[in-house]
């Protein structure tokens, strides 16, 4: 039967199965292939909380969701158009998010009696008619692969492991994906294990064939190429981007890099990446705790390194005292906090934006520290470099806030050439005649930095209040006020050195949506939809939280109403109201989910109708 061809604007696909089913691999390949084919892509892996929950259970489902599209998109899709379900549980947990008429590719052998029971199904949903709203394809993947690989010297268990590639093949053919990228990748990955490579290649091919020859599939879909800027691209998670950012920042500053860190979900991967960069000269210490993570970095910074620490909420809470020290020492440091759902251990795998006020105010004494935030996975690269730039130029610790969503999700990252990234030029004092440890640059208010090993510049710094210019210990009243003012003025002064806040849409009017950090994608997509639907609303997004961009007050005052959607109970709202006395409408959710596009959309529609505020 000749198949029909149909063009789509985009689609959202979800690969779901057990932890061992290789869904992350299928997802990554679908995503990278689509990127390589010139589509916009955005993904999110959805791991179970348990390390390896018992097979087939509802709480053990591991999934990977991808949205691809011709127009720019910034979220991984609210509703699923295509579901690859390796077993009954993965079908069940995904069902609520399926869009009408969604395509379901089900792995038949994952719907046996045992699987159904674990998924708490009385009858087999593939057979009992309950899925009649959807286009269901029940595929004997495992049986087919056993036949296909009968001639290979491979145990049935290993053969079964290829089922993710078989499923990938099915959707590649169905959505006209080019298999070349994946074939190349498989060759590189399994080059040294020819049998495994062979089995995987056969699975992919067989899956594609399955779609081609099977009449159930009446239509083949295409997603047209986007107007993507030419260049090299890769998909990148926020955590890898942050790790890269650290290395590249050090490179552009002509400095050595030191990372002191303690593992904590969802920040640990930054440490993983850094620990693999040894051939780029990176030093790191997996410390005994978060306090040592930061304090060892302080030691390295004193030694003249670009030093950093990475953590998540509970770890940030432990670093509070040392952040205060870093503040008064006025040494450069990058502190990356990948926010997760709190309070306390909370829900470690879920994103939130509930650390903003803590980053801002969570230290005893007046201890101002600059704060920046990344908008998406790829932006973690930029903002890490930006945090390092500010730290080095102003001699200050800088906190970069990301979150579990952008840290673990991916989007396409346009690979820059190293030469295109601006250089930074930190300098160390060398002249004993002029050196004083708290003498400041009149422009930036940064103090002078001298490193051990420099002859004649021996000096002492510490956590006691110090005398202006000399850096001697001082408990003088006026000096303490002066130093407090100077520390604040230094941070405030950074406002001159960062981009202005940009407004998208009308530059003034009734309603502004103001976001910050990792809610960027959802707000942007919602705003795009609203504009498509003719709504008059503007948006702006903050990446600099302390200090704010110089024009923020002006922007706020240009709008009658300002809506701040954030994944907390009102952190930015509090800061803006407290500072600018501008009444803010909060859209506050702490439900463990990334911000949902439709939540923003609906709130704006409601506001536009009601004129509330």
């Amino acid at each position: 039967m000749e198949k029909q061809e149909k063009y789509l604007d985009g689609l959202t696909i979800r690969f779901a199965g057990d932890s061992g089913d290789g869904m992350q691999l299928s997802g990554t390949q679908f995503s990278n292939t689509s990127g390589a084919m010139g589509n916009y892509v955005n993904t999110f892996p959805d791991y179970p909380a348990e390390i390896r929950a018992p097979e087939g259970t509802l709480y053990g489902v591991s999934a990977y969701q991808i949205q691809i599209a011709t127009k720019e998109i910034s979220t991984f899709g609210a509703f699923i158009d295509v579901l690859v379900a390796m077993n009954a549980s993965s079908l069940k947990v995904s069902l609520p998010k399926l869009s009408k008429g969604a395509v379901i590719i089900a792995n038949e052998s994952g719907f046996g009696a045992k699987n159904l029971k674990l998924a708490e199904y009385e009858t087999n949903p593939l057979e009992d008619g309950s899925l009649s709203d959807f286009e269901v394809h029940s595929v004997p993947i495992v049986e087919t692969m056993k036949e296909v690989c009968a001639d290979l010297e491979m145990s049935p268990k290993f053969i079964e492991r290829t089922k993710n590639l078989f499923a990938l093949g099915i959707v590649y053919a169905l959505y006209s994906r080019d298999s070349e990228h994946t074939i190349k990748w498989l060759n590189e990955k399994f080059g040294k294990k020819p049998v495994v490579l062979d089995a995987n290649l056969r699975a992919l091919k067989k899956g594609m064939e399955y779609t081609a020859v099977n009449d159930e599939f009446t239509t083949i879909y295409k997603v047209e190429k986007s107007e993507v800027e030419p260049g090299f691209y890769r998909n990148i998670t926020g955590n890898e981007a942050a790790a890269l950012g650290l290395v590249i920042a050090a490179n552009r500053a002509n400095m050595h890099l030191f990372l002191g860190s303690y593992p904590i979900t969802p920040a640990t991967e930054i440490l993983h990446f850094i620990s693999g960069y040894k051939k780029h000269g990176v030093k790191h210490l997996q410390a005994e705790d978060e306090i040592a993570g930061l304090t060892s970095a302080i030691g390295a910074s004193f030694g003249g390194y670009l030093a950093a620490t990475t953590t998540s909420g509970p770890g940030l809470s432990l670093k509070v005292e040392a952040m205060g020290l870093a503040c008064i020492l006025e040494l450069p440091l990058v502190i990356i906090d990948v926010q997760r759902a709190g309070p306390s251990t909370g829900i470690p795998t879920k994103p939130e934006q509930t650390d903003l006020l803590m980053a801002m105010y969570g230290r005893h004494g007046d201890a101002p520290i600059p704060i920046v935030a990344a908008t998406d996975a790829a932006d973690c690269f930029n903002m890490t470099i930006e945090a390092a730039r500010i730290a080095l130029k102003y001699m200050t610790p800088v906190i970069l806030l990301t979150d579990g969503y952008i840290a673990q999700g991916t989007n396409a990252f346009k690979v820059p050439h190293i030469e295109d990234i601006p250089e930074m030029s930190p300098t160390f004092a060398t002249d004993p005649e002029t050196y004083q440890s708290y003498k400041r640059d009149p422009e930036t208010l940064a103090r002078m930095w001298a490193v051990p090993g420099t002859q004649g510049l021996e000096h002492r710094i510490g956590g006691l209040e110090k005398e202006d210019i000399t850096g001697n210990v001082s408990s003088d009243s006026e000096n303490h006020q002066l130093m407090t003012n100077l520390r604040q003025a230094k941070v405030d002064g950074i406002a001159k050195d960062i981009p202005l806040l940009q407004v998208h849409g009308e530059q003034s009017g009734d309603l502004l949506i103001l976001g910050w950090g990792g809610t960027y994608g959802a707000i942007k997509d919602a705003w795009n939809d609203l504009r498509c639907d003719g709504k008059v609303v503007s948006r702006a997004h903050l990446k600099y939280l302390n200090p704010f961009p110089a024009n923020i007050e002006e922007v706020l005052n240009n709008f009658d109403r300002v809506l701040i959607p954030e994944l907390n109970m009102g952190d930015l709202k509090m800061m803006i109201q407290g500072k600018f006395l501008k009444r803010i409408i909060g859209l506050n959710r702490v439900d463990g989910l990334p911000l949902q596009t439709n939540v923003v959309y609906n709130k704006v529609v409601e506001l536009l109708e009601s004129k509330e505020g």
């Binding site: 890269l244 210490l285 510049l457």
Partner: protein, 349 residues
């Protein structure tokens, strides 16, 4: 472009090897109480540093918080007075970053073993190459007299008006248990011993822990008089020397012998025992080190002084350097463009 740190160090580091104890005095007034034991540590440190063959600008002294932690302010070296308990973690970061520096840590019994206990055991385990001087005065002095984990059971202090209920740590046993490659002890009142011990610590390639009994004249005066005064030290301490029998007493008339694992005092003059019967000190023996540490709270034997234990184990900072050196010559080392591109990228034309 050249790394800024490397170029500053190349240019500015001709090496000031010719300096004296006096050059190590910073301008700051030493604000310890008159008679404080900490003075004698300061004096000996300033005395030996110029003899170590280390350039003055390559010395860094890191401390926590406490009377003793004011130490760096009095030294004209690079220095940092940090947070209570965190000196070792900060010093570890500094040493790993800058292995060519001579890193010293000044810390108190509270700073090191109470709030700082975790960093202590981990720095010891990793064998970060630094010299840790723990000023043990058996009390929290800066906060005016609470008991520390090295105060004795029953001790009356401001926070134990009815007597301390805790058992104290045995500092050297803890250091050994944590894997410290060098463990020693000295005390304020014996400048000669202090000098020897500090020199040995400085020359040790690895984590060197020195417990120093230092008298706090205000809050715990006389705590160590039982061993450290001129009258008591001969009978109540025994100076350790590698390869030599444990003899002590004013005229070296007594010795330590092992009964099984139990050290006992024997007379060398009653004709029953000779030096040949005595325990021979072996700095490399872990079990012996444990036995020596155990003598600390044993009232029937003198307190060992000097180097309990010293073994060679590659320091962590050195391993880091070696690993980096190894990988720095691998193909692709330093190729930032390859790193940026990763291994699963695509091109849009």
């Amino acid at each position: 472009m050249k790394n800024v740190l490397d170029s500053v160090l190349e240019e500015k580091h001709q090496g000031s090897f010719e300096f004296t104890a006096k050059d190590l005095k910073s301008g700051a007034d030493v604000r310890w109480c008159a008679g404080c034991g900490d003075f004698s540590v300061l004096a000996q440190v300033q005395r030996i540093m110029p003899t170590l063959g280390i350039a003055k600008e390559n010395i860094a002294v890191i401390s926590g918080i406490g009377c003793s932690s004011r130490f760096p302010y009095y030294m004209d070296t690079y220095g940092m007075h940090t947070l209570h308990g965190r000196a070792l973690a900060i010093a570890s970061g500094l040493k790993i970053a800058r292995p060519e520096l001579s890193v010293w840590v000044a810390t108190g019994d509270g700073d090191c073993m109470s709030i700082g206990g975790n960093h202590f055991i981990h720095a010891a385990r990793r064998n970060v190459n630094m010299n840790v001087l723990m000023f043990n005065n058996g009390i929290y002095s800066l906060t005016k007299g609470q008991y520390s984990p090295l105060s004795l059971k029953g001790q009356i202090t401001k926070s134990s008006p009815l007597g301390v209920l805790d058992d104290p740590f045995n500092a050297s046993a803890l250091a050994l248990g944590a894997g410290s490659s060098f463990v020693a002890r000295s005390y304020d009142k014996d400048a000669k011993l202090m000098k020897v011990v500090l020199e040995r610590a400085a020359r040790h390639n690895g984590f060197a822990f020195v417990e120093i009994y230092s008298n706090c004249v205000i809050f715990n005066d006389g705590a160590y008089d039982g061993y450290t005064t001129k009258e008591n030290r001969f009978d109540n301490t025994v100076n350790l020397e590698h390869g030599m029998p444990l003899v002590f007493g004013k005229d070296l008339e007594k010795g330590i012998k092992l009964d099984g694992f139990r050290p006992t005092v024997v007379s060398l003059t009653d004709g029953k025992h000779s030096k040949d019967d005595l325990l021979i000190h072996d700095e490399a023996d872990t079990t012996l080190a444990a036995i020596l540490a155990d003598m600390t709270y044993n009232p029937t034997v003198p307190q060992p002084m000097g180097v309990f234990h010293a073994v060679d184990r590659t320091p962590y900072d050195q391993r880091t350097t070696e690993q980096l050196e190894h990988y720095a010559i691998q193909p692709g080392a330093g190729d930032m463009n390859a790193l940026l591109k990763g291994n699963d990228s695509w091109e849009i034309k």
